[in-house]
């Protein structure tokens, strides 16, 4: 029996700006099961990071706020918890790692101290025990000579090592959910492979669930169990990685997959493209948001009416826009 760990229902997040209220995340639904790794993919500005920050209640203040929806973590709605209770969840139940570990780590404190800080915040142990735990954690995430590295400042470490420190810090309290927001985007491919491998190994060891946010479909295909594809603030398709990559339904998902250059393709041939650019948040239609770039013939009504969600079995669901719904 699969256990639902986190349920996100109809999440809407907006930002108050000079141009009025902009809705960055509009009606996002997904479920995260215990021990699963879910990929959240999409292009920049599609709302994937905002979704993650909303789960952690770390939206940029004062402009960002949750406009509606629920985030249920084991029966509690995270979004309505008092701040004090939320602070106990953050880092302990849900931990997060970020894209650029140099900006997420404090440059003037030694990395050991930064790991210890989190441990002391959530666990009732002494400083000395916390330090020992920090060394153990650093060893666990594959940092060589951890008892020396613990006294290093972030700038003394390489990008890959800094990301490992971030991971050690995030895992210091055995969280049940790890949100990794583009954890490997700033890293080289060989180091990226190391970090992804590490996250998978740690996930197996601890049984935690992972939400992996990325723009790289390759990363999702290689590491995740499930995937949700976001476009302009909405999830347009979601399901098990195998199904979605093998038989994508939404034209956006199809387009994304076909426009990637692949190593086994003949070089110097034209790539299939998705024409146009992602629409701005100010001029999003209420209906299908991909319509302006969609290769399928469609009537005007698909942009004016919200297109229904359809479950296609096996956990595979898609925003069934009228332009392709009859082919499913």
């Amino acid at each position: 029996m699969k256990k639902r760990l986190l349920e996100v229902r109809n999440l809407r997040v907006g930002f108050q700006t000079e141009q009025g209220l902009l809705t960055a995340v509009d009606d996002v639904d997904f479920t995260l099961e215990c021990g699963k790794m879910m990929g959240l993919v999409g292009e920049s500005g599609c709302g994937k990071s905002v979704t993650a920050r909303a789960l952690m209640r770390l939206l940029e203040q004062p402009s960002g706020r949750v406009l509606g929806g629920e985030v249920i973590l084991e029966g509690r709605d995270v979004l309505t918890l008092p701040l004090e209770a939320m602070r106990r969840i953050r880092g302990k139940e849900i931990a997060m790692i970020f894209q650029e570990p140099m900006t997420a780590l404090n440059p003037v404190h030694r990395v050991g101290r930064q790991i210890v800080e989190n441990i002391l915040l959530h666990q009732e142990i002494g400083t000395r025990a916390a330090l020992r735990r920090a060394v153990e954690l650093m060893e666990w995430v594959g940092i060589p000579a951890p008892d020396e590295r613990i006294n290093d400042y972030p700038h003394q470490l390489s990008g890959g090592m800094r990301q490992r420190v971030m991971i050690a810090m995030a895992l210091s309290c055995n969280p049940r959910i790890l949100i990794a927001d583009e954890p490997t985007t700033a890293l080289d491919v060989t180091v990226q492979a190391q970090i992804l491998d590490l996250i998978k190994r740690l996930q197996k060891d601890t049984g935690m669930a992972v939400i992996l946010i990325t723009h790289d479909l390759g990363v999702v295909a290689e590491t995740c169990d499930d995937v949700a594809v976001m476009y302009a603030g909405r999830i347009v398709e979601r399901g098990p990685v195998g199904t979605v990559f093998q038989a994508p339904l939404h034209p956006y998902t199809k387009g994304l997959m076909s426009c990637l250059p692949r190593l086994d393709h003949p070089p110097k041939t034209m790539l299939p493209i998705i024409p146009g650019i992602v629409p701005g948040l100010r001029d999003l239609p209420p209906g299908c948001r991909f319509a302006s770039r969609c290769p399928y013939p469609h009537g005007a009504e698909v942009t004016t009416n919200r297109q229904p969600w359809r479950e296609c079995g096996g956990g595979h669901g898609v925003e069934a826009c009228a332009c392709f719904a009859n082919t499913i």
């Binding site: 190391q194 723009h215 390759g218 990559f245 994304l256 190593l263």
Partner: protein, 323 residues
């Protein structure tokens, strides 16, 4: 005849430290790189960050003055050319940069940006320049009325098109593309790659195409050179390099690329460690040293100049990394 020939290019920087800022160490950013490029051809350059690919790019267009080695463009030695000569050569060779937001002057309109090459080269009348720049915009697929707008009004992909239009302005024969799509989203990346291929066809452009994404480089290139720590370790036709990599580093790079196909998920042979620093690099084969290869010692002191193993397939003859 080759359009561009680079021979034994070296770019060394002194690393100063201490009270008297003495140069105590040398950073060998590029250490003996040779390649050539024909008209209409694309040479891809891949490698991890810090391997010296951008330094090669900047040396080729002579934004940097190489420490040693020679660069011949259209048969002429430009390694030591002064500003006047270079201005003439830069009509023929241009550059497209990684971050279009930072390589376009935010206070200039698109028209000013595109006319600037003509102004610098003293070409045309003001009216002609306007005409040429609208033609450029049309060529790269931007609306012609963009001339009065500013860079911030455009998306990343459109800005990169502006950067490409500027590089095209003087009808160059060589364009050095330094990570032209790494700041772009996948759907836009394909558009820009297609544009570059189209332009190459139409104008017989040669590209030196630099990227860290091996699948992008493979897609764009006729030949690919793999760089590691300031040196080319393998150079081969694109398909040959992918099908039959010979150097252990190339194999590792290919292996690390995540493929967007879950059915081909596989056990990967992970590289350990990080890219070493080019300051005081190890002797012999740098990659064998990183891998702690048991036969690394054999590579110390031997000549590691590229050798041709198969037609057009050049590899560093390193005893530990090449079987």
């Amino acid at each position: 005849m080759s359009l561009l020939t680079v021979q034994n290019l070296k770019m060394h920087y002194p690393v100063r430290s201490g009270v008297f800022r003495r140069a105590r160490q040398v950073c060998k950013a590029v250490d003996g790189v040779s390649f050539s490029l024909k008209e209409g051809e694309t040479l891809g350059l891949v490698g991890e960050s810090g391997c010296g690919k951008s330094t090669v790019a900047k040396s080729v267009v002579r934004l940097l003055k190489p420490t040693a080695g020679t660069i011949h463009f259209e048969g002429q030695d430009i390694t030591r050319s002064g500003a006047g000569d270079l201005r003439r050569f830069r009509r023929e060779m241009q550059m497209v940069f990684q971050d279009p937001a930072e390589s376009l002057n935010p206070r200039h309109t698109i028209g000013q940006i595109l006319e600037e090459p003509f102004v610098i080269q003293k070409l045309g009348t003001p009216a002609e320049r306007i005409e040429w720049s609208t033609e450029l915009l049309r060529r790269v697929g931007l609306p012609e009325d963009s001339t009065n707008r500013y860079p911030f009004e455009f998306s990343g992909g459109q800005r990169q098109r502006i950067g490409i239009a500027r590089a095209l302005a003087l009808k160059p024969r060589l364009i050095v593309c330094d990570e032209p799509v790494s700041a772009l989203d996948v759907s836009v990346q394909a558009q820009v790659l297609n544009l570059l291929l189209e332009l190459q066809n139409d104008f017989k452009l040669a590209y030196l195409f630099i990227a860290h994404d091996l699948s992008v480089v493979q897609h764009m290139s006729d030949r690919v050179a793999v760089m590691y720590l300031g040196k080319i370790v393998e150079l081969a036709p694109a398909t040959e390099l992918y099908r039959n990599p010979r150097h252990a580093y190339t194999k590792a790079l290919l292996d690390a690329i995540p493929e967007a196909d879950p059915s081909r998920r596989r056990e990967r042979h992970l590289l350990k460690g990080d890219v070493p620093s080019p300051i005081n690099p190890p002797e012999g084969c740098a990659f064998g040293h990183r891998m702690r290869h048991p036969r690394w010692k054999e590579s110390v002191g031997i000549d590691l100049t590229l050798r041709e193993l198969a037609p057009g397939h050049w590899v560093q003859p390193c005893p530990c990394c090449v079987e």
